[in-house]
Structure formats: C-alpha cells, structure tokens
C-alpha cells in the first residue's frame, strides 16, 4: 500500500483581504476617478478575492504628479543615510509580515505556499535589506564620486513573482533616490497593495511609492507619461518591444527584463540524481511561470535514456493541487488566459511530431491546472523549442559534443539564462564563457540573490536587477554632472 500525504493546509486566517481596494497615490488609498474596478480571483478555486481599482489616465497623471512632488520636495533632498533607514524599515516589516504576505501571494497567484513562503518572501526581504545598505554607499558602487538619481520611475511588473518583482523594482529605485509609480499585473495585485500598507507602516514619505492597479492599458499610459524619467518593465518580449518603441526618442531611461528559453545542459559526467532535481526545479518551479526557466533540456546522448527514465520517475512523485497545502509541489496556472496559451503551444508540439508525456495526476475540478509535461523527440524547429511556453512544459533535445550543445543552447533569440551540469570544473567555465545568456547556473538552477545581477542578453532584455550592476539602472550614469 503506498503511503500518501495527509492534507497540511496553511491557514488563510492570517490574511485580511478587503472587499475592494483603491489606488495608493500620495501616501493614501483613493477611489479611482475612472470609477472602474475589476475582480481578482484565486486561480486555484476561481473564487473572487477582491475588487481592485482600474486606473485611468487621470489616475495615472495623479500618481506621476505625486511621485514628482515627493521626488522634488522630499526624496531627492534626503540624505542617503535617511533613505537607507526607511528601506531597512521596509525590509524588517516584510520579514515580520512574511507569512501573511506568503499566504496572500499564494491565494492571488496560485503558487505553492512552500515556494511563496520559502523562496519569494525571504528574497523580497533580502532585496530590500541589500539595497537599503547601498542608499548611503552609492559613491562606492563605481558610478563616480556622487552619482545622481534619475527622478520618477514608472515600473510595470508581471504576475509570476508579484511581490518579488515589486522588490526588484522598488528597492533599487528608492535606494538610488528615485520615486516610484508601480503597476502590478492585473491578475496579481494584492501583495502590491499590501506593500502599500507596509510603506505606510514604515512612515515612508507620501508619494515616494505609488501603486496603481489596472490592465495593460494602465501600464501603457504609465510608461508613456511625459513626466516619467525612467521606465522599468518585466514581462513578455512582445510587450517589451512595444514599450521600447513607445519610449524611443524620449529622455526616458529604459530597462527591460523579458522572456527566455533557457537551455539546461546535462553532460554524461554529471551527477545524474542531482541534475534531475535541478531539471525539475528548473522547469516545474512556480508551474514554469519563470522567465529564466530551464525549458529546453539538452541531454548528452550517452546518458539521455538513463536521465529521461530518472526524470519521469521523479515527476511521478510531484504533487499537484491546493497551493495552500504545504506538501504541494505544483500549484495552479495563474489565469485561464495563460492556461489557453500553454494548451495551444503543447498542442502544436504534438502536431509537429514531438512525443508528449505526463505523469498520471488528478486535476482539481475548479481552477486552472496543467500537469507537468515532458516532450521528447523535439527538434530545434518545433515551436515548443523556440517559443516561451511559460508553463510546466519541458522540451528535451540531445547533443553529442560540447560544441553542439553550445550551438543548440544559443540557437534562440532569447538569452536570459542557461544551466550546465558536469563534474568537470574547466568545462563549466568554458561552457559559461560560450553561453549567450545573462545568468549561467552550474550544477544548480533557479538561484536568486539580491547581490547577484539578473537580466538577459539579446531579446531577453537589457539592464540588470540586483548587485552593483543593478544600481546602474536607477542612476544617471551617462551624465554625472
């Protein structure tokens, strides 16, 4: 008789969700002048969690004006030492409220509580902690003796790591002396609104952080606003290109963190069990809603059969279901729209001749779900090898020589990340050198740290988030005068 896991749900009583939320502008919540609200749901149950304001042009104008006022009157005049103290406060408040925020994130996003609790939230707090320390040390960061801020930053973030992407945007912006108008994704606005409450608790001067909710149209108005000095976007390459076109010819500084189609390359001398764990983490972590996901597995031919067998065996042990259950490995797909996209691309995989496999796993009746899926017999021409699926779908290809692995890995317009699995150190470094990707993981995957810059080559974007290099995205580095 197989042993099964008893349900171990995390209590949601720690979270208080209001029935509706206004816009956080100038330090307080206000009704949208548009009068419009939209619903945000729990993708695991389709239960409506709350109604959230849809910011229109007048609201965007008000938010940018509040950020401009705060920049001119307060934040740009404040010493780095004092800015640091506010950001440290925010870091501590996030640590204190991390369980609450983790549950809220899981409810609104569908990711397993184990991930929101053990990955997202610790990284969020760490990101603020790290950047707090930079606020009064910018002269040591290599951008000249007295680097200056840019002004008002317009930031648009995705739904896959809602609060973590907020942290990646807000923390360096504030540390470098900018003020912020941030728009969270329409399907995951709740933790950003909880963050607004944290800004209030921290006593952050009004207008330094403004959170406006809405869909793509709100985002477009924000990045196109003439009084914005800096635009930072994380999301799809398609929208990123549209933003780049919109910003072209303006004074606005731009950083983009876009899609990826990372190769996870396993050599025949790799520690296979460890590699399997890394492959699973690389593509099934966060339901594959990860721009740097290891979505193309490149196996050296001599170990391909063995590795595939191990991988499939491992996938049968993954538990898909209630994201609030502490034993859950695979949560819900974030939206019906994303689910359709994954279904469309996987259907194309089959139609183009790749072989599809998923472990048998019960799918809940309500909500949006997709089982972990592996495609074999994939060629480089297949759409599932070229396009970002952003779901728990792995495309497996093989190679014979390191040179072939390099050619295949780099054969993509993207260049965000890559993974290398081998016991040979010199090969790791040679491969890392050959990869046209912003992040290369060796014998590990999906590691993140505020000290370590993140960002892509080629169509995966430009600019870095985290580390010393990430500060450059929010400093006036071209014109130090």
């Amino acid at each position: 008789m197989p042993f099964d896991y008893a349900p171990a749900p995390e209590s949601r009583s720690i979270v208080d969700i209001e029935s509706n939320y206004g816009l956080f502008i100038g330090g307080s919540f206000s009704e949208p002048t548009s009068g419009e609200f939209f619903k945000t749901i729990n993708p695991a149950t389709e239960e409506v969690l709350s109604e959230v304001a849809e910011a229109g042009q007048a609201d965007v104008d008000a938010a940018v004006a509040a950020a401009r006022r705060a920049y001119d009157k307060t934040w740009s005049k404040m010493s780095g030492k004092d800015r640091a103290k506010y950001i440290f406060r925010i870091a501590r408040l996030i640590q204190e409220r991390s369980r609450e925020l983790a549950v809220l994130e899981t409810l609104d996003n569908g990711k397993p509580i184990r991930e929101s609790r053990d990955v997202d939230l610790p990284l969020v707090a760490a990101h603020f902690f790290y950047h707090a320390g930079w606020a009064d040390k910018l002269e040591f960061a290599g951008y000249g003796p007295d680097p200056k801020s840019l002004g008002v930053a317009a930031q648009v973030i995705p739904w896959n790591f809602p609060l973590l992407m907020l942290a990646w945007k807000v923390a360096p912006a504030l540390a470098c002396g900018n003020t912020v108008v941030l728009k969270p994704a329409e399907t995951t606005p709740l933790t950003a609104l909880a963050f607004a409450d944290i800004c209030q608790q921290a006593g952050l001067p009004p207008g330094v952080v403004n959170i406006i909710t809405g869909a793509g149209e709100t985002g477009r108005m924000l990045v196109e606003h003439p009084d914005v000095d800096k635009v930072a976007f994380t999301g799809s390459t398609e929208v990123g290109k549209a933003i780049q076109r919109a910003v072209a010819g303006t004074k606005k500084k731009l950083t983009l963190e876009l899609g990826g189609k990372a190769a996870n390359i396993v050599f025949d001398d790799a520690p296979i069990d460890q590699a399997i764990e890394g492959i699973v983490n690389g593509i099934y972590f966060n339901q594959g809603h990860v721009c740097c996901a290891g979505s193309r597995l490149l196996l050296q031919e001599s170990v391909a059969d063995e590795a595939l067998a191990s991988l499939k065996r491992r996938l049968t042990t993954l538990r898909l279901g209630d994201p609030l259950d502490k034993n859950t490995d695979i949560g819900a797909i974030n939206s019906s729209m994303q689910l359709s996209k994954i279904e469309e691309l996987t259907a194309s995989g089959e139609a183009e001749g790749a072989e599809r496999w998923s472990p048998t796993c019960p799918i809940p009746d309500k909500g949006f779900w997709f089982p972990p899926t592996v495609f074999t017999n994939v060629t480089q021409a297949h759409r599932i090898a070229r396009e970002e699926i952003f779901g728990p779908v792995l495309s497996v290809l093989t190679f014979r020589t390191p040179e072939e692995a390099v050619a295949k890995a780099n054969n993509t317009p993207f260049g965000l990340s890559a993974g290398i699995w081998t016991e040979k150190g010199s090969r790791i470094l040679w491969m890392a050198n050959q990869m046209r990707a912003g992040i290369v993981w060796a014998n590990t995957f999906n590691r993140f740290d505020p000290t370590s810059p993140f960002g892509g080559f080629k169509e995966s974007g430009f600019g870095r988030e985290g580390g010393v290099q990430g500060l450059g995205a929010y400093l006036n580095v071209e014109d130090p005068s």
């Binding site: 902690f129 320390g133 930079w134 040390k137 150190g425 090969r427 470094l429 040679w430 000290t451 010393v468």
Partner: protein
C-alpha cells in the same frame, strides 16, 4: 523620600558571558568631576587568553556565516542600541563630561555606524574583490577573506562612538575581536556588551576587556593565536563617515585560478 537605586556590577564580556576578572581585581572609575561611578573589572593576562580562546572558537562559524546573516546581526545591534539610547546618553555624558546634547550626537552616530557597516556586510566583497582577466584560459578571481582573531584598543576619548567605529568593521568582515575600551570611560562599553549579548551576535565574536591596555595588550600582541592588532588612531575624527580602510585592514585577499576548457 527618594528611591534608593540599585546599582550595576560591571564585569568583563568573554565568550558571550559576563565573568569577573579571573584575577579578582577591580579599579575605580570616576566621572569627569572625579565622583565615583563604579568599580570595573581589571582584566588580567589570563582573562586575555580566555578571550582569545573564545574569539578563536567563534571565528569558524562567524566567518562562514552568510554575508546577509552578518548584516542582519549588525543591524540588530543598532535596533537594540536604539532601545537603550537614553541609557547610553546618560552614561556617555557622565563619563565624558559632555552635555546630553553632545552625548546624544555621539550615541546617534554610534547607532548609525552599526547601520552603515551592516549594509557593507554583503557589499565589501563586491567593491574590494574582482575577477582578473589573466592572459590564458583561466578563470581567475580575488575575494577578501577575514584574517581571523583581532585584538584592538578602542579610542580612549570617544567612549562609545570610537568603540563602535573600531569593532564594527572588524566583525562585519567576519573576524572576531578582543577589544579594550576606554580605560577611564568604560561604562558605555559594558552597556554595549549587554546589547551585543541580546542581538544575535554569536558568543565570542566580540569580547570586551576593561582595564589597562598597557598591561594586557602586550600579552595579546605576543599571543600566537591573534592574527591582527589594531591600535586605534587617537586623534581620528570618529564623527566623520568612515571609508573602506578599516574593513580592508582586517581582510586578506585570496586569488583563485581555475582552468577553462572542454
């Protein structure tokens, strides 16, 4: 009738505990008007050796703690000190004979100094370290590493700001320290020890010996298990924002070569 206050016994701070001097000796500390303040423990050679032992046992874990963890511990010290701000101000004011306002400025600067160094924990390696583009198929990088056990004399005038300015850069870089605070103004140092003991600082990372540096420091200087000595500059401007120099002083630079090739 006014309340009769309960006075504190001042002891050493070694390995996270507060022992009296093994020698049983104490010395009298007075305020700036020569009025009795307290009897302080007069540290001996044996106390110094105990402190080195405590520091050495703390180094392995502290130096390999993550930089993020060390940063949070240092920030915690600032938080705990802030809660005792009034106590520090009155002690600094008594010890140094300065106004509460001036003492307040010293105490605030000391707290802020912990915050400043806390932020450096996960950054100094990024500023001091680097990769080296050597002319060959090698990956080559240099990283700062803690030197180990440091014996330091804190400034004799700035009883809290000087002490914090000396201790913080030594421990943020992963070293353990045995420090002798101001001989004649040691009371704020013992209050700092109480903050350290309740701030997640692992036992032995900071050890505080009150007494006579001229008597104890030579023993520490000769001790084979002490890696570095720090005689703080007597006339330094401790109010000024520090540079990297005090952190650089207590790190070694390690360079690693690794071949690169298929």
């Amino acid at each position: 009738m006014s309340r009769v206050d309960v006075r504190k016994t001042h002891k050493l701070f070694i390995g996270g505990a507060f022992p009296r001097s093994e020698s049983g000796r104490t010395y009298e500390v007075t305020d700036s008007k020569d009025q009795f303040l307290a009897n302080m423990a007069l540290a001996s050679r044996k106390d110094a050796r105990d402190a080195v032992l405590a520091a050495r046992s703390a180094v392995a874990k502290w130096s390999t703690a993550t930089a993020y963890n060390r940063g949070q511990v240092l920030y915690r010290i600032a938080e705990v000190m802030e809660g005792r701000r009034e106590q520090f101000i009155s002690e600094v004011s008594d010890s140094e004979g300065v106004s509460s306002r001036k003492a307040g400025a010293h105490v605030d600067a000391a707290i802020d100094r912990w915050v400043w160094y806390a932020g450096w924990a996960d950054k100094y390696a990024q500023v001091i370290g680097n990769t080296n583009p050597v002319a060959g198929p090698f990956f080559n990088f240099s990283v700062p590493e803690p030197t180990g056990v440091v014996a330091a004399v804190a400034p004799q005038d700035a009883s809290i700001l000087g002490l914090v300015s000396v201790v913080a850069p030594i421990i943020v870089t992963g070293n353990a320290v045995i420090v002798m605070p101001s001989s004649s103004r040691p009371i704020p140092a013992i209050t700092l020890a109480e903050c350290l003991a309740t701030s997640d600082v692992p036992a032995g990372v900071v050890n505080i010996l009150t007494g006579a540096p001229a008597e104890v420091m030579p023993w520490l200087a000769e001790h084979a298990d002490v890696n570095a000595l720090d005689g703080a500059a007597p006339h330094a401007d401790w109010q000024a924002t520090p540079s990297l120099s005090r952190m650089r002083a207590f790190v070694e630079v390690k360079t690693v070569w690794h071949p690169m090739g298929v």
